[in-house]
Subunit: 319 residues, 2 copies
């Protein structure tokens, strides 16, 4: 088909509006409802070879994953996702079916949470680049930031921990199927828990994308408090085949971690994994796991896979 | 510095908030005011080697250009730009100063129109990728789409035509300075004319990014009308050194083209270049320049520069 052919074809594939934005694709810009008078916005970029491999993930998987990590960021503010726009860099060698699957994955993941793909841009590139921006509505609530945790709060996690990281290890070892491999290919973030926890009264919330220790480190640093976590409680969020290192440092499952005042009962599916104290840093079973700035110094073997292939290092620059 | 070093450094550089969003960078997502209860959203991706060359454009130039093309899309809906989020793919070899300049260019172009950079994501990539998403507010007005032009309307263009295309030709021929070369490096879209034309009563509007003939073709197709343009009037929007082909097919200056009911006086800076009639397609001095679908068949030599180097072909997939 060739580069221009792919780009022309994808124009008909993207965006795939599964709902009804106020003004959808086909004009200079889309128009999306923002009934709250504010809009939540976040962007993430996935690059082939850095965040996914086409021999390990289908186009559909990559679409789901690219949408998921942005939709989860909206949920982590307590927002209800409303819309996605998608920028695609596409190599000429890319099969058109792969792009068709990618568009389907993006639309399906958005649709699962009631959001729609309202616009896009496709350009030629040497590697597949998927740049997604998600919008969301706060439904009248204040955004739940990383900075509101208070001593005495309990730490609650909803979702999976370490599954995707263990799945990546299994893919490297030659596995091609199973729940952990599937979790690497398609995260299943607990989107609806975001607005629910915000409505319940969460004082701080974060999307677990850098690993629980690192992300709770961000909350501890932003809130000026210390977080104590019990490993035995965390293990309830793992799965058979997920080791403790993966539980503590694996990102990409997009669990939601929040802090709740102690009088509040965590919602169904929420696991209390620790408490907020005066101080700084994150402690696991009483041992320091991060410095006061959130930097993980949990000991050897806890780092990300590093430069040798697929990892999440590129996401360190998120803000 | 190395790849990780650049990514770590850019975290401190991007986003550069020049104003006051409701919640800026540093959390899972930003929160931007949407006082209208709707939000305009558009995304565009620039790729090194496809949309810019680092030996022809500085990091600052690329930042200005990447912001400009998105802000112009918001203006073309009649919107006032409010915020940008930026996804960056950065090669390890990239000088940190280049990235610093890029961030400065993004912030300055946004700031010039009262918008702010509220969030970003930086990832490793083989070539520089700049994925910008712009948000905007409609200030209570309906969006001005491509589909509202009516027979009898006049066609008004605000901004430059062909400057950037001529500048690209001069760069290819070895020029390194001058107003046309500058226009290629940094477009100067007439942002404020967007909301002004919307308030005045524009019936259709488009950002001229594919070239005037192609973009008026989109308006003609979406509105179900014919547009007749006078070349002599168009020449007032060119400059010394811009040839007629560049005037008609050069994109990237991001002029705004709109249709206005004939009773309305065009605003200062707006040039009447033609009229809307019953029929289909775009005509230049009475000769057909596009088919009814907007496809340019203006004759030999009017195509984009093609695959031999820098061009705008990648933007054909915009929607």
């Amino acid at each position: 088909v060739g580069e221009r052919g792919v780009i022309a074809l994808v124009t008909g594939l993207l965006p795939v509006a599964a709902g009804a934005p106020l003004l959808g694709p086909g004009d200079d810009a889309a128009v999306v409802a923002a009934p709250d008078g504010r809009v939540v916005v976040t962007t993430d970029v996935l690059v082939e070879g850095v965040h996914f491999r086409r021999d390990w993930s289908s186009g559909y998987d990559v679409g789901r994953k690219a949408a998921a990590q942005n939709l989860a960021d909206v949920a982590a503010m307590g927002g209800r996702p409303t819309a996605l726009v998608v920028g695609l860099g596409l190599p000429g060698v890319l099969p058109v079916d792969w792009v068709r699957e990618l568009a389907g994955g993006l639309a399906d993941e958005a649709g699962a949470v009631g959001a729609v793909v309202v616009g896009g841009d496709t350009v030629a590139a040497d590697a597949v680049v998927v740049a997604v921006t998600a919008l969301g509505d706060l439904e009248g609530r204040p955004p739940v930031t990383r900075s509101g945790a208070r001593p005495g709060d309990v730490v609650v996690v909803v979702g999976r921990l370490g599954w995707a990281e263990a799945g990546l290890r299994l893919l490297r070892a030659g596995s091609t199927a199973g729940p952990l491999v599937d979790a690497h290919r398609r995260p299943a973030p607990p989107y609806r828990a975001g607005p629910a926890l915000a409505a319940l009264g969460a004082t701080a919330m974060i999307d677990v994308s850098d690993g629980l220790v690192a992300d709770l480190g961000h909350v501890a640093a932003a809130s000026g408090i210390r977080i104590d976590v019990e490993l035995s409680a965390l293990r309830r969020l793992g799965a058979e085949g997920v080791d403790d290192r993966e539980l503590l440092t694996g990102g990409e499952d997009h669990a939601l971690a929040c802090t709740l005042p102690p009088a509040l009962r965590p919602p169904e599916g929420g696991i209390v994994v620790g408490v907020v104290r005066r101080g700084a840093g994150v402690y696991i079973d009483g041992e320091p796991a991060t410095g006061s700035g959130g930097h993980v110094h949990f000991g050897p073997g806890t780092g990300r896979p590093g430069s040798a292939g697929l990892d999440s290092a590129g996401r360190r620059g998120r803000s």
